[in-house]
Symmetry: C2
Subunit: 330 residues, 2 copies
Amino acid sequence: MGYIPSRDLVGGALRGELRAVSRLLTRAENGSAEARPALDEIFQHAGRAHIVGITGVPGSGKSTLVAKLAALIRASGRRIGIVAIDPSSPFSGGSILGDRIRMGDLAGDPGVYVRSMATRGAMGGLASGTLEAVDVLDAAGFDVVIVETVGVGQDEVDVVRATHTTVVVSAPGLGDDIQAIKAGILEIADVHVVSKCDKPDANRSIADLKSMLALGLSMAALSEGERWVVPVVATASVRDEGIADLVAAIDRHRDFLARSGEIAERRRRINERRLLRAGEEILRDEFVRQRDAKVLALLHDIDARRTSPHSAARQLLAHLNLHMSEGEPA
Amino acid sequence: MGYIPSRDLVGGALRGELRAVSRLLTRAENGSAEARPALDEIFQHAGRAHIVGITGVPGSGKSTLVAKLAALIRASGRRIGIVAIDPSSPFSGGSILGDRIRMGDLAGDPGVYVRSMATRGAMGGLASGTLEAVDVLDAAGFDVVIVETVGVGQDEVDVVRATHTTVVVSAPGLGDDIQAIKAGILEIADVHVVSKCDKPDANRSIADLKSMLALGLSMAALSEGERWVVPVVATASVRDEGIADLVAAIDRHRDFLARSGEIAERRRRINERRLLRAGEEILRDEFVRQRDAKVLALLHDIDARRTSPHSAARQLLAHLNLHMSEGEPA
């Protein structure tokens, strides 16, 4: 079968046809220029799904939890899409996380769609492609779309923040280095999970989180309106404990966003991030396109330390010809 | 004491005065616009130091190793600067890594300078500031500058790749999630370290790495010129074992870069990355500056799903007025 132009896949994707969905996801992941107008059109049809970000430090048991969570959401009759971002290697070519999830009870159910995405190449660009993949699943009619990332690194955290409900998974008894990293993502949580609560130390982890949250609340008490009190959910995936509580917490947060009107502010913030990330991506593409001309001359000046990278970048930006098509009208 | 203009600090920094160095490091870290011409000037005087990047997954014992390594390099009579990137939290305000290093035997020695830098805020920008901090230490006359980051996340890996000699630290017996992350950074190593070699499983970790490297070598054997054979160094920081081997491996790599002429290619690649990152940083600054005008109108269109983030970004870039000063002439 030949290459199907991306524009021709949009109709099928909007009707929820998984072959069209799958092809568009691949093109979103690759940042394909040919797919640009199709992904722009998809964006205009997205906006119905509840987007849930799930992140946690290595060792937090996040992948198992996501599989259990997906099964329970599915059991409530909703269709669920999952985008999992894997640290992958040019050596192994592997996609460990994705395979692990796929092997669960959910295989073969068309109401569950899992896509593992590799982290992008050397020049970055994780966020744009991932969020366009979420758009595709959203526009294809999945009711809930989960984005799972490792909770370390700017790009990974960026992706998870660009969701409606951010779940941060912790586990008892991890090492110092992990705890330090964990501290950096705790404040982005709408819902906290302490996983592996069959382990010792779980009660202390829960208590620590709650006291941290109480501190944050007392500082926030000065501002007005309905407050979201960040819940701490204890789970033990091996025993299927706490998963229903987590689904309930996620659904309550969705209802809170809608009832309080907070969803509008959340969407605005997400769009602002996406606008900036898209700008950066366009800039990277232009750098590559202009490599042979202006870029090489500037690199020569930097090599000779006649100019700094920063002032060279200003010169380059001033000379960019962005070949603007001004986007596609709706 | 009042605020000293950054330009007035350059002379002192170039003479190695630590107070001037310290102030410029803070301004590089903050991305201060006022410091821009000073940092551009600093860049033009940098280029003598051997820049060593050290990265490793959480739990690899990287921080302890860096402290031991720094002590031994210092003992060889060289002055050493360290820039450590910490995952830090708005809650804790903490800087765990930095404090741990500072507490070592090196405190009080003016030939060792350690700066802990926070990871940047929500909008990214880690790489530029960090590498400008390295420029400052380089121009101030430190012979070796070590950049230490956690080996996860695009930004963190980017920083370590922008060095002359990249050291990747592994440790035996970490969990699955960690191993998956580790796979993503193994291929950037000029020198491998297997730390904690007093632990069981160490021999297997070393053997695994070596067979992976042997695979890479046989693929590379088709190309010409002197080859760098990536060494695997076994260390046990608690027993001070292997640290001298690591210093020797790092120095051999420096000599290889100089002798083979590979250093020129390495510098060119680093400069290309820095050029791109600086461009992205300028773009971010412009987005913030134009928030009240063009950006708000575009966000409104995205909110209404009349336009996608990507096509809005193209429109915004086309309308950017970069207020170009064309950089500072040398």
